[in-house]
Point group: C2
Chain length 337, copies 2
């Protein structure tokens, strides 16, 4: 079996990774349709000797497609997901538009694959910080029963798109020449800075990004009572998010059991030999399919407390890879029709 696959937002940072990963993972596509805004329409996308002409997204873009991965922001998703669904195309949506919709499954294939099978045409991909955090949290939850967590993030600029990555590079290149250029993508300079602000602020002082970790974690792990506190911070890293987590569990922590739980879980590596200077870092997990967990240590600050550190490529597990894994899951379960 082969499948006709579309990418909405093909020219963006995530879209480009989807093109790469569909090839690298030998996804069985017979057609690849690259959709974007009118601004990009007509441009030619090349990859490994193949080329595609970017098409402007419209009402008939989804005809005959089996899957379309949406990575063009919430507005585009809200407009085109119902149209794609109507055309019989399964939408895997990277935006936040449908994540909390009770009729839309929110899926990390390693965690809640069964939820994907209940889809009614749209499946949501989680927020990048949530997906990466849960790759560490879920195996520990299965071992000890997760109750609450406090997270601080160290988020890479490419999470804000290709323009933000360019902005960091441009600011540093200007610095190297003794110059200074004003920020455009971020409200403040990101070179040599950290910005405790990701996504918009709610009235209670938390950002929407910080609340996603609460709401999405509850939905994906089916933990209605989970408590989450998060501080999201942008750092001058090109790629791969890191999250420092201190969590409380129902049952007493046994560190060797915790380490085995991580090792036994697919697509997360235990990198936890601090005396040998081994812990996960963004430079080692950029362009890597696995996430990594380290700095694991018991803490008395919370009941049955455990502190740890997770790193993962937010363009891959946090977006492109997880979306493709969802399509692969549907194919393997023969429900992609």
């Amino acid at each position: 079996m082969t499948y006709k696959v579309g990418i909405l937002g093909a020219t963006g940072a995530v879209g480009q990774e989807i093109i790469h990963l569909l090839h690298e993972r030998k996804f069985p596509f017979s057609e690849l349709r690259l959709l974007a805004s009118s601004r990009s329409a007509g441009k030619v996308q090349e990859y490994q000797g193949n080329s595609w002409t970017i098409e402007e997204t419209n009402q008939s873009s989804f005809k005959d497609l089996d899957f379309c991965i949406f990575s063009a922001g919430g507005g585009q998703s809200k407009t085109f997901a119902p149209i794609a669904k109507e055309a019989g195309c399964i939408v895997i949506d990277n935006s936040s538009a449908f994540r909390m919709d009770p009729s839309v499954p929110l899926v990390v294939p390693e965690i809640n694959p069964e939820a994907a099978l209940t889809h009614q045409g749209i499946i949501a991909n989680p927020n990048c910080t949530t997906a990466i955090s849960l790759m560490g949290l879920f195996p520990l939850h299965k071992a000890f029963g997760l109750k609450s967590l406090i997270a601080c993030t160290y988020q890479a600029v490419s999470g804000s798109g290709a323009e933000a990555l360019q902005e960091l590079d441009d600011q540093l290149m200007a610095w190297s020449k003794g110059k200074n250029i004003p920020p455009k993508v971020y409200p403040h300079p990101i070179a040599f800075n950290v910005i405790p602000h990701v996504d918009d602020f709610n009235d209670d002082g938390f950002t929407r990004e910080e609340m996603k970790l609460l709401h999405e974690s509850r939905k994906i792990m089916d933990l209605d009572d989970l408590m989450v506190n998060c501080t999201c911070v942008r750092v001058p890293v090109r790629r791969a998010h890191s999250i420092a987590i201190t969590a409380s569990f129902e049952n007493a922590i046994d560190l060797s059991v915790a380490k085995e739980a991580i090792k036994a879980f697919p697509n997360v590596e235990l990198i936890d030999n601090p005396q040998q200077l081994e812990y996960p870092m963004p430079i080692n997990y950029s362009g890597v399919s696995s996430c990594a967990l380290g700095r694991m240590r018991k803490t008395e600050i919370l009941p049955n407390g455990l502190s740890f550190w997770v790193t993962g490529d937010q363009l891959w597990k946090g977006a492109a890879l997880n979306a493709i894994q969802i399509a692969e899951l549907l194919i393997s379960r023969n429900s992609a029709s």
Copy 2:
């Protein structure tokens, strides 16, 4: 009255800031003696038209000095602090050598000035992360009664000294030319990376830096039962540390009372208008005497919980400035003899 002042470690990142701040604050010194290792001895230090010859530290370096600020690491402090004290010179020590010594006061002048007056010749300056964190935590403790806190740090490279700052600059300059240079100061590249590792690891998986926040906070605030969990992370920022803190208090939090407590406390600014994109950031608090607190929000994750973000110049409030403030305090209380 004027005073004879020495700086041990005068050529280091903190030593250079001490020279600057003694002048900027018009510290009443009649003599400034710059001490360093044999490597720097004989070099000439210039500042605002004045010049000093760097002297190699030896047994007689402290003769006739009223104060000497030590910023040359724990080894030098252990060797020379007893000698200086014997010579009648008050040692203000930036290293961790004496901080937990019960006979040595550990002082943040805004918090526990009275402790400084009990000195027996040596006064310890806190760890940079501790000093900056406490500038936010202490006024909130006075308002609500601090019980526990979870902190994640975003620490600037100059906290590791002038060589580390040079290393970040060198790595970025090499990157701007399409080159790559191996790390020397840090065990991993710091450009475009974050490293969850500051100071050495203990057997329980916490670093010594992470434990300083516990032990030093307890001592400075006289809170023997305070619980602290910390994750220390080095980020590619040149100067000024930031700390994301979620704390639990004895009494219910009133946000307006919390904000007033910060505003009323000396040398910490409330920068907390997120909707206007105003929150503390390292680029705004480098070379600034005040620390800043923002992102303040109530949280249900801990009893009477409050999350916030503190930023401060770790070379100043975290080291040079706090040390000079201690000397100024002793002078103002007429106990500098």
